[in-house]
C-alpha cells in the first residue's frame, strides 16, 4: 500500500504545482542549487529477502548546475543504513560453523552518482523535475550473531531515475525544499544462507531536503 500511496501523492503534488504555476508570476531561474536531504528507503525485489524493513537512516547531498533553460547536470552522494532483526534461526557457514540465535542483518550503501535533470518550470515557486543518475556505490552487508560478524563488502554500478518537486520558499528566496522519489538498482549480489540471497539490489527512496539556490 505504502509503495503505491507515495508515488500517487507525489504525482498529485506535481499536478497541483504545475497548475498553480500557470497563474503565478515568474520569479527567478536559479543557475545552480545544492540540496541536503533525508532519505527514507524501502528495499524492494531480491533485496527484501535480506532486509524488508523501511530504512529511516539515510541522507544525500546533491549539487545541480543549469546548463540551459530547465536542463541541469549534477552530482549526488548519499548513504543509507538498513537494519532488521530476525528471531532465532540457524546460520550455516561454509567452514562447518552453525549458529542458532537472533540474526541482526545490517546493510550500508554509499552511492556516488552524476546525472541529468529536467526542470519543467525553473522560474516557478514549485518546479517539478525528472532526472536520471548513474554512478558507483560502495556497500557492506553484515549478519551479526553474537560475536560473529559475517560480512561482505563490494563495489557496484548504480542507476536511479527520479521524479520530484522543488519548492522555493518565496518567489525570490534562495532557500527551498525538495521532495523526490527515486527508484534505484545496483549490480551488487549477495548470498549468505538460506533465502537471504539477491542478485540485483533494488530500492525506492523518498527524499525530503533543504535546498540552497543560486541565481
Amino acid at each position: 500500500m505504502k509503495k503505491i500511496l507515495i508515488p500517487i501523492i507525489l504525482i498529485l503534488l506535481i499536478t497541483i504545482s504545475v497548475r498553480a504555476q500557470e497563474k503565478a508570476a515568474a520569479g527567478y531561474s536559479p543557475t545552480s542549487l545544492y540540496t541536503i536531504s533525508w532519505a527514507v528507503s524501502l528495499p524492494i525485489g531480491d533485496f527484501s529477502n535480506f532486509i524488508n524493513k523501511l530504512s529511516f537512516g539515510g541522507g544525500s547531498f546533491a549539487g545541480r548546475y543549469f546548463v540551459k533553460k530547465g536542463l541541469a547536470l549534477g552530482f549526488e552522494f548519499g548513504w543509507n543504513n538498513y537494519y532488521q532483526e530476525y528471531p532465532r534461526e540457524t546460520y550455516y557457514g561454509s567452514d562447518g560453523l552453525a549458529i542458532t540465535g537472533i540474526h541482526y542483518m545490517y546493510a550500508f550503501i554509499i552511492p556516488w552518482e552524476a546525472g541529468a535533470y529536467y526542470y519543467f518550470i525553473p522560474s516557478g515557486i514549485a518546479d517539478p523535475y525528472v532526472g536520471l543518475s548513474l554512478g558507483g556505490d560502495y556497500m557492506e552487508e553484515h549478519i551479526l550473531i553474537q560475536e560473529y560478524d559475517i560480512y561482505k563488502t563490494q563495489w557496484g554500478f548504480i542507476m536511479s531515475p527520479e521524479a520530484g518537486v522543488l519548492f522555493k520558499f518565496g518567489r525570490y528566496s534562495h532557500w527551498g525544499a525538495n521532495i523526490s522519489a527515486k527508484y534505484w538498482f545496483n549490480t551488487n549480489s549477495f548470498s549468505f544462507t538460506g533465502n537471504k540471497t539477491y542478485d540485483l539490489m533494488q530500492g525506492l527512496n523518498f527524499n525530503i531536503g533543504l535546498c540552497y539556490l543560486l541565481r
Binding site: Y34, I36, S37, W38, A39, S55, F56, G57, G58, G59, F61, W79, N81, Y82, Y83, T90, Y92, D95, G96, L97, A98, I99, T100, G101, I102, Y104, Y106, L144, I145, Q146, E147, Y148, H174, L210, Y212
Partner: protein, 214 residues
C-alpha cells in the same frame, strides 16, 4: 554566503546523526538467551565411526579453584540427552575400558564471572576437565584440526560439548582431535528449565546433520 554554508552544514550534521541506523552492540548481542554454536571438522568423515563413549559426569568450571565434577539429576539428563542424540545418529554406546570407542565425548559447564575473554580450548587444562589420559591417551593433548570456533566470551554461562576422534588418535601425532564442538551459551542470562537446555542440545545436533554413522 558563509552564513548559508554554515546553515547547510549544520543541517547536514543533524541529519547525519539522525540517520545513522544503530544495531545492538556486542554486549547486548552476547546477553541473548540460549544460543547454540557448533562447528565440525569438514575433513572428518563421521560415517567412519561406529561407537562412542561419554564422560561419567559433567565438569563444572567456576571461578578460581571451585571447579568440580557433578552428576546431579540435571547433569545426568544432560549426558543422557547427548547419548540419545548420538544413538539416534546410529552410533553405539560402549564401555570406555572394554568397548574401544571410536569417539569420546567431553561435557563441561562453564560458570565463570571473573574473566570474560578466553582463547580457544582454554578449558582443556582446567581443573576437573577430563584430560586425554581419561580416554587412555596419556601424554596426548587435545587439538583442533580446523580453525577453532570463535567462542570467546563465557560469563553468561555455557555448556561445552567436545567430540573426540579416538579411532585415529595413534596416527595424529600425540593429538586427540576435537572433531565437533558445541556451545550452548546463556545459562546465566535468564531462568532455564532443564528441558530448555536439553532442547538446545537437540538443536546442536540438528544443526550438524553431518554427525551420522550412516
Amino acid at each position: 554566503m558563509n552564513r548559508n554554508i554554515h546553515m547547510l552544514s549544520k543541517v547536514a550534521a543533524v541529519l547525519f546523526m539522525f540517520s545513522c541506523a544503530s544495531y545492538p552492540g556486542l554486549d547486548s548481542r552476547l546477553a541473548e538467551d540460549l544460543v547454540d554454536i557448533t562447528k565440525y571438522d569438514v575433513n572428518t568423515a563421521f560415517s567412519q565411526f561406529r561407537t562412542f563413549s561419554i564422560v561419567d559426569s559433567v565438569t563444572v568450571i567456576k571461578n578460581g579453584t571451585d571447579s568440580t565434577r557433578v552428576l546431579n539429576p540435571q547433569a545426568q539428563s544432560l549426558l543422557a540427552e547427548i547419548t540419545a542424540n548420538m544413538q539416534a545418529r546410529g552410533y553405539t554406546l560402549v564401555n570406555l575400558k572394554t568397548g574401544n570407542p571410536d569417539l569420546g565425548i567431553n561435557v563441561a559447564v562453564v560458570k565463570v564471572t571473573n574473566i570474560s575473554y578466553y582463547y580457544p580450548g582454554w578449558y582443556w587444562d582446567y581443573y576437573g576437565y577430563y584430560d586425554p589420559a581419561y580416554w587412555g591417551y596419556s601424554g596426548y593433548g587435545y587439538w583442533y584440526p580446523y580453525y577453532p570456533p570463535e567462542v570467546t566470551y563465557y560469563n553468561s554461562g555455557t555448556v561445552i560439548i567436545d567430540m573426540l576422534d579416538l579411532k585415529n588418535a595413534k596416527i595424529h601425532d600425540n593429538k586427540l582431535y576435537v572433531v565437533w564442538n558445541a556451545y550452548i551459551r546463556g545459562l546465566m542470562t535468564g531462568y532455564h528449565t532443564t528441558q530448555d537446555i536439553l532442547g538446545n542440545v537437540d538443536q546442536c545436533f540438528a544443526q550438524t546433520p553431518q554427525i551420522s554413522a550412516h
